[in-house]
Subunit: 337 residues, 2 copies
């Protein structure tokens, strides 16, 4: 049995390119004691994939020659003395390959609710990031103004919709007129601003005439700087990602955020970072909430599924350029029968 | 009766100079209904005085021609239908002048504990900033490593000593070898690093071999950037001030902080700003705690009292260059009899 894999073979000097990857065929491993063999169903494509190339984050830096890392939804097809039934659907980080051997503790069984793709999107890592970021880190309350960047992206689109559900006024920032229309017409945002427009700063100011209580930040950089200026006293920034800064060969050259700490002091702001695994104990509750909102139609799920492991490099390169709408994922294999 | 006043007459193009001020003689006002006439005893000299020239902060921007603003300890010498007894010592913002008419709500009566100078230093705004910043915003716990910048300054020296009292390992950053020695020999810091030394970054890393839990930031800029790199996962930054960025004619040119939001996300940091008036309801408790620590010798009070209102401009210019040790204040008039 063959195991198609995509290796990360070249550290990009500047922006990531498909040539930084290589498709190879490896062996399918055998699970040792306490291990399972997983078959990849869906591979999540995330901006963080690029950040992992730049240095140590919450995981080790990727090394050239590694199987490219990535979050997956997989099926357990063999086990060796674990209590995970063969046939289980699990969330794990199996990487860009068709098969992976993982320790039982590295996979978590997914109680399937609806289509599997939802467990990569609204009920997956990005949906959970929106949920915990907005509700726990941001602590949003009804009536507040919530600003969301990368608002047509996987996390932003869910964060904005949860904020709307909670009775907030929601302003989205996205990278095209088409995305802005989608936010307004399909996701119920109160305002949407195109960050590629020449009048972006003024447009954003006009969209937030009374200031911003919570900024859900997926991008960092100049947009964060602008948002700091719009935040009210005691405003909060949910630091979820910094996608504007990932796709560079020289992270140290990234321009800094000028409003820190000046505006943080004078306006008594709070900036707080998080990753979803900090809230792992509460995932079941969050998934139940999210699934309920999806079922009731309160949350519209935006997904893009591209076909075949070999499309993953282009899917990631394009994602970093902002060509996705909603959650992008790669179908590596069929759903379990 | 004359009222010597110092006006802010010129917005500095670059660094503040004594020529940006002018000493004049004005009239002593008469308190209207609900007002008091205050005689200035001690004038607090604070880095924030410079920030007020740059734009709106938590107060309106200073305008050229204004009496220079400043926090004072004053004596009520006349009142008009208030319930504040003549002879009371009050904390207020009477500015750089010998007399000021203020509304009763603009002054707060100080229950005097020990020398009046302490009510400007350890028991004044800067001591309170150290107290609330470290304990409420930072939430320090025994055993943590606390890093303090401008550690020989008015706020930093108290913050570091409170951290030591709470059982933390305390590392101070200061601007001379003499200041560093003071931190080690007289204030009980565990380590001290000179930010003007060529090997500053390496020295700081060596002084914090296990990383930093809480960074009490008085300076912003490159030191904050460095501290972000040393913070542990879930580390906190208490954003108290940004003195490195105040003394410029062009605040927009200040270099940004590069670790935001990248390191904030990956290490799940929290940065939070505050000003002491946010905790006004709890000042009496804080003053009691601080006075107790001063009386027991647990906190050594560092003060510099310069004589005469006319010395205030040079006192502030020098403070911004870092030539002070501890709390700098100007004696404008004698203590009440």
């Amino acid at each position: 049995m063959r195991n198609r894999q995509i290796l990360y073979v070249h550290r990009p000097e500047e922006r990531l390119s498909v040539d930084d990857f290589e498709l190879v065929e490896g062996a399918v491993g055998q699970p040792g004691p306490g291990q399972v063999l997983c078959r990849t169903i869906l591979l999540s494509v995330d901006p963080a994939n690029r950040a992992w190339m730049q240095g140590r984050t919450y995981r080790d830096q990727l090394a050239e020659g590694d199987v490219m890392a990535g979050f997956t939804l997989s099926e357990v097809v063999a086990d060796n003395g674990t209590n995970i039934p063969v046939g289980s659907v699990v969330a794990c980080a199996a990487g860009w390959q068709e098969y992976a051997v993982l320790h039982a503790r590295e996979v978590s069984v997914v109680p399937v609710l609806g289509p599997l793709t939802h467990h990569v999107s609204a009920l997956g890592i990005t949906g959970l990031a929106a949920y915990f970021g907005l509700l726990r880190v941001g602590g949003v309350k009804g009536g507040e103004t919530v600003l969301v960047s990368a608002a047509a992206g996987a996390t932003g689109s869910v964060a904005g919709q949860i904020a709307r559900l909670k009775g907030c006024r929601v302003v989205g920032i996205a990278g095209s007129d088409r995305k802005c229309r989608l936010l307004l017409d399909e996701l119920g945002f109160d305002a949407a601003v195109d960050h590629r427009s020449a009048g972006f700063a003024d447009d954003l100011r006009r969209a937030c005439p009374d200031g911003v209580d919570v900024y859900f930040d997926n991008v960092g950089g100049a947009t964060l700087d602008l948002a700091l200026r719009l935040l009210k006293q005691h405003g909060r920034v949910v630091c979820c990602g910094a996608v504007s800064q990932y796709d560079t060969g020289d992270p140290a050259s990234v321009e800094g955020v000028r409003g820190v700490p000046g505006l943080v002091v004078t306006k008594r702001l709070r900036l707080e970072g998080f990753i979803v695994s900090d809230f792992a104990g509460d995932w079941p509750v969050a998934v139940r909430d999210l699934a309920g909102w999806v079922a009731s139609g309160d949350i519209t799920v935006l997904e893009e599924v591209v076909e075949g492991l070999e499309t993953a490099p282009q899917a990631l390169v394009g994602l970093l350029a902002g060509d996705n709408i909603g959650k992008r994922m790669v179908r590596v294999g069929p759903d379990p029968v």
